[in-house]
Each structure stands twice: as C-alpha cells, then as structure tokens.
C-alpha cells in the first residue's frame, strides 16, 4: 500500500479545461493514473480529454467516485476551489497553483479543521509513486520503484534527488512536495510519519530550506518516536542573506529564526544524517542504507 496514491485512486481535476490542467492531466494518464473527470464551473456537461466535465466537485464526486482531486485553478479562485473540495469531503486534494494569496490559505486552513480532507500544497509539484501513478506535474523518466521516500519543499530539488537516488542504484517509494508557501496543507512532519509507517519505505529523504519551522518540527517529532529507518536531510540556503525572500515565499530567514544552521543542528541532534551538499544526497542515502545493514 503506497503512501497517498495507489491503483484504486480515482482522480478528479479542478481546472482541467485550462492549459495547465489539460497538459498535465494528459501526462498523468500516460503515466497510468486513473483520472475520472474534471470540474470547471460553466463548462459542466461537456467532455474534455474524453473525460466528463462537471459543474461542481460534490456532483463530480458522486458521479465518478473520485477520491482525490488535483487543483490547477488560477490564484484568484484557487482557495474557493480547495474549499469546495473540502466541503465535498474529498479525501485528498493536491494544489499545484502558485502564488495563492496567503490570507486565502489561512481561510483554507480554517476550512480543513475538523474535516476529512488531507491537503497537499498549494505551490506543490504533487505526489509521484513510481510505477503506480502521479498526482502532479513532475517530469518522469529518472524515477524507479524502490524504497526511498522523499518529502520536499522544492520541486526542482526533488527531481534532482530522484535522479541521484536512481543513479545510486536505488529507487523511490513515493515523492511528496509539501509546497513552497509559508501557509500550506500537510507538512514535512506528517509526511515523514506516513513514510515511516509505510511498509515499502526503507529510508526517508527530507529536502528542506531556510524559513519556517517545519524542519524543527520534524526534529521535535523524532525525539518522541523510535524508528529503525534511516533519515537523510538536505537543507539548502546556508549562504542566503538574512531577511531576504529567496524565490519561495516561505523561504526567508529572520535573524536567528528559521536559518539553515539552526535547522541542521536540530535535525542532527534528532539523529538525522545531513547531506553535506546538494550533489551528495544520493551518496548519503546509499551510505545510510549500507550502514544500517
């Protein structure tokens, strides 16, 4: 049973009729993901990519039996789309949209409380389970099924690490992008917990960066749980200037809080192996797995 995504996952796409939705739904289906329909208000009843287009998520969920949704709705309406999916009790929602206003995400977080939805993103590349399916926009080709689970705040570094892990003769159980925004759905700590429970995952790689407290939360969590699975982390932004926003809205270090050195110290103290540089993650994983044997 893979994390988040398996052969029974039936995917709905919100915003499927737009350029990004069309392009990526086609790629997802090529990869073997079971996409069952789309939602675009005003275009209900049509057909797109040979799939039915619905007016509302609740109706689409009823008629297609979808249990996951991927959101490509532009920033102005992305929060409304996520809240609609939450209200329709969609179990899993992945939001790819970049540049969603932060107060909109605050409202989405409030809607998530007490609900049944797990949200991944926004500003996430999604989830990839090699050989099973993808619920996202990542390029494929360098991944292969295996035992390394990857949780990341960065899409481009995930692609890089997937390639390094494969080059080291290993494969991936799942890759999950938690997104680059400060306020987002599921975080590193929850993803790590899922991967530690997952039978197919033998090792977890965390890709973190400056800003926020997700890495520190992971360190606190690891102080409380026992695991025999090795955990490797790459933290980027050691050399970034203080209090400047570096690309990701979530990535800025306020003096003394959220800086790379503090994150590395906390993770090391929790028993996490730190990859010394971004080009050495595959090698660090290989050593961690060899050292365990």
């Amino acid at each position: 049973m893979a994390v988040f995504l398996n052969r029974e996952t039936r995917v709905l796409c919100q915003g499927m009729t737009g350029w990004a939705g069309t392009h990526h739904v086609a790629r997802m289906m090529e990869y073997g993901t079971q996409v069952v329909g789309g939602v675009t208000p005003g275009k209900g009843g049509r057909s797109h990519l040979n799939l039915p287009v619905h007016e509302r998520v609740a109706e689409a969920r009823r008629e297609t039996g979808a249990n996951a949704s991927i959101v490509f709705v532009p920033p102005a309406n992305a929060a409304a789309a996520m809240i609609e999916a939450i209200e329709a009790e969609m179990p899993l929602v992945v939001t790819v949209t970049e540049r969603v206003p932060v107060l909109d995400m605050v409202r989405v977080k409030a809607a998530l409380k007490g609900g049944r939805t797990t949200l991944v993103g926004a500003n996430s590349q999604g989830i990839l389970v090699p050989g099973v399916g993808k619920l996202g926009v990542m390029a494929t080709g360098s991944e292969r099924p295996g035992g390394v689970g990857i949780v990341s705040r960065s899409a481009s570094l995930t692609s890089e690490v997937v390639a390094q892990v494969t080059a080291a003769g290993l494969g991936q159980s799942a890759t999950i992008g938690v997104g680059g925004d400060p306020v987002h759905g599921i975080g590193m700590r929850e993803c790590l917990a899922l991967l530690l429970e997952d039978a197919e995952t033998e090792c977890v790689v965390l890709i973190g960066e400056i800003g926020g407290t997700q890495e520190e939360e992971v360190a606190d969590y690891l102080a409380d749980v026992r695991t025999s699975k090795p955990i490797v982390a790459l933290i980027v932004g050691r050399e970034a200037p203080i209090e400047r926003r570096m690309g990701h809205a979530g990535a800025f270090a306020l003096s003394g809080k959220g800086d790379a050195a503090g994150k590395i110290r906390a993770l090391e103290a929790a028993g996490v192996r730190i990859a010394p540089s971004a080009h050495l993650v595959g090698e660090t994983v290989r050593q961690a797995l060899a050292g365990r044997g």
């Binding site: 990004a20 790629r27 920033p75 102005a76 970049e98 969603v100 206003p101 932060v102 107060l103 605050v106 977080k109 409030a110 590349q125 996202g136 926009v137 990542m138 390029a139 494929t140 080709g141 360098s142 990341s152 705040r153 960065s154 899409a155 481009s156 570094l157 692609s159 890089e160 390639a163 680059g180 400060p182 306020v183 987002h184 975080g187 960066e209 400056i210 926020g212 407290t213 939360e217 790459l234 980027v236 932004g237 050691r238 050399e239 970034a240 200037p241 209090e243 400047r244 926003r245 570096m246 690309g247 990701h248 809205a249 979530g250 990535a251 003096s255 540089s277 971004a278 080009h279 050495l280």
Partner: protein
Amino acid sequence: MRIHEFQAKRLLAGYGLKVPDGSVAIAGREAGEIARRLGSPTVVKAQIHAGGRQRAGGIRQADDPAAAEAAADGLLGTSLVTAQTGPAGHRIRRVLVETAVAAVRELHLALLIDASSGELMLMGSAKGGVDVEEQAARGDIRLNWLSLGDGSEARGKEVAAFVAALGLDGAMHEQGCALVDGLRRAFLELDASLIEINPLAVTAAGALVALDVKMVLDDNALFRHPELAALRDEDDGSAAELQAQRHQLNYVQLDGDIGMVANGAGLGLATLDMLVAAKGRPANFMDIRTTAKSLDIAHGFGLLLDNPATRAIVVNVHGGGMQPCDTIAEGLGIALRRSGRSLPLVVRLAGNNADFARSRLQNFGCAVIDCPDMWSAASQAVVLAQRGA
C-alpha cells in the same frame, strides 16, 4: 511588498490608528515648512525600506524648523546603511517630518501570520523600543501571543485579556482593544502579511500613538488591490529585482562576481550554497518560476549580463514537468545575442529535454562549458570567475 512608514501610517489611520501629525518632504526647505506648520519640536525620519534606522542615524530630533531643515538636508540624497540594508545602503529620497511625541511608556504590538498553525497571530509586549527583538531573544521581556484564527471574528474577550496583559487599563484598555480590532480589519482588507507597531507610545495625556509602523503587503494578493500595488516605490531597493518580478523571475542582488541562475528556488539556494562552498562569490540569486516564458528568461539573463560585476555565469537547470530545459536554453540564447557581451558560461542541464536544450544552445551559437553535475558546474564557474578577475 514592503511599504514606507508614511504610507502605512496613512493607511492605518483610516482604521482608527492614532499617529503623530506630520507630512513628507523631498527637500530640506519643505521639511522646515512642515515643522513650522506643526509648531512643535519634530522628528525627521528617513523613509527607506529597511529597519535599523534609529541606530544608523536615520531618525533625527529637531527642536525648531531650522533644525528640521538641517536634519532633512543632512539625510536627503545620502545613502543610509543600516543593519538590514547591506553595505551599499538605501538612498534617502523622502523624509517624514512629524510632531515629536513624548512617551510615558513604550509598547510593542504586531499582527502576523504564523506559518505553522496557518493563523493570524497577535504579538505584544509591555516594553517596546529599538532592541525589542534582542531583548526578547535574551528573555528580558515577555512576548504575549494571541491567535485570532482566520481573523474573521473579533474575539473581543480574548483581545481584552491580551490588552490588559500589556498593562493597559481604564480608558487605555478600551483604546487598546479598538486599536487591535482596527489592525485586524486592516490586515484582512488590505491583504497584509505583517503589521508591526514599535514603539506604540502611551502619552502623558493617556493616548496610544503609533510612533513607527512597519507594514508588509502580500505580493500574491496585489492583483485585487490596484490602489495598493501603486504604492510600490520603484526607486527603493534594486531596480533589477523589480524588473525580474515582472518577468516571472525571483532575483536578489548580491555583491559577488558569479551570476547564478536555476529553475526553482530550492535548486537556486542549493547552487548558491555550492558556489560559496567552492569559495566563490555569487553576484546574484535568480530563480526561474515555472510560469516564465523564454522571453522572460532572456530578460533575466540580460540582468546578469548587464551587471558589470559579473565575471562568469553558472546555469543550473533540472528540467521539470512545468519548465523544460529547452525553454531556458532558448532564453539564454536570445539574451546572449542581444547583449553581445561574452562571459564564461557554465551550464548543467539535466531532466526534461536536456538534450534538446543542448542542441538549442548549439543552434544559437552559444559557447558553453557543459558540466555533467552541479558541483562541477559550480566549482568550474568559481575558477573561471577568479581567472577573469
């Protein structure tokens, strides 16, 4: 987007915040006239997008109009270097001339978004002033926190207790609660991501007056606030950074000699770290968003080529599903044709359409040093930049 102190004060005055009387001047004589009109001792404050002004001498007391004029003359047109500006400092183009307000006591109050809970958070301390962050870090002052959830409710009872904990009682307590409610409404209506009042003065007459305000608006929400988008000060900070924003790029000017480009913020930060680890000095940070087209990217490379300090450029791309390598190669090719400048160019192309990108570069006639992995690309760029020095 950070806005100036005078802009934040004007916006928040509309939500009931009391601020000192004052006005903005762009010349010394104008500052003197404002001080004369105010008819009281004044404070002349440099308007730049950075904190630490007090310690850097950017805030000056003036007892009379002549002193205000002299203070403004001393500030305007100079560059103010503070702990937050970087070594070049920020050029002072405006000063705010305000009535000097005597504080019996100074508080610190802020409204911000807590990333881990995803909630609005009110933060306050019974002491304010220039070194409040350091004092809080040392544990010398206590910070009070109150979650306002998604901000949709006033939470009157909790706010009342929070305000009381700041040591505000009687008529001051009522004022404090009204102030917090005004800040909450402003935060939501203006799509702010930070409002910080430090110090918030308690005057002898029993008024709460905001002596300094720092306010940051959410760039991602400016599409629904054209009137706020217009507040952007295009002359403050780096012009290159602003241009890059318009072209779907994130750009931060640094002071080294190696131009750096990556697709994705994480990969960009990793590249920056590797350049420094290889003993190089990055001239900038540039991350290409997935929404950038080849002409946007060409613009970004143009910024690097136009920076006279750049001696070598390193391009680190791991093509993804949204941004394949060839789009970036095309942007680079266009920029090199436009610029005519020839600099050592190190590329690392991997992932989606990497081979296609190589042939695109060849067709453009770009001479590049093609590295198989990012560490060799970073260290090669460092060697080439040093050779060019």
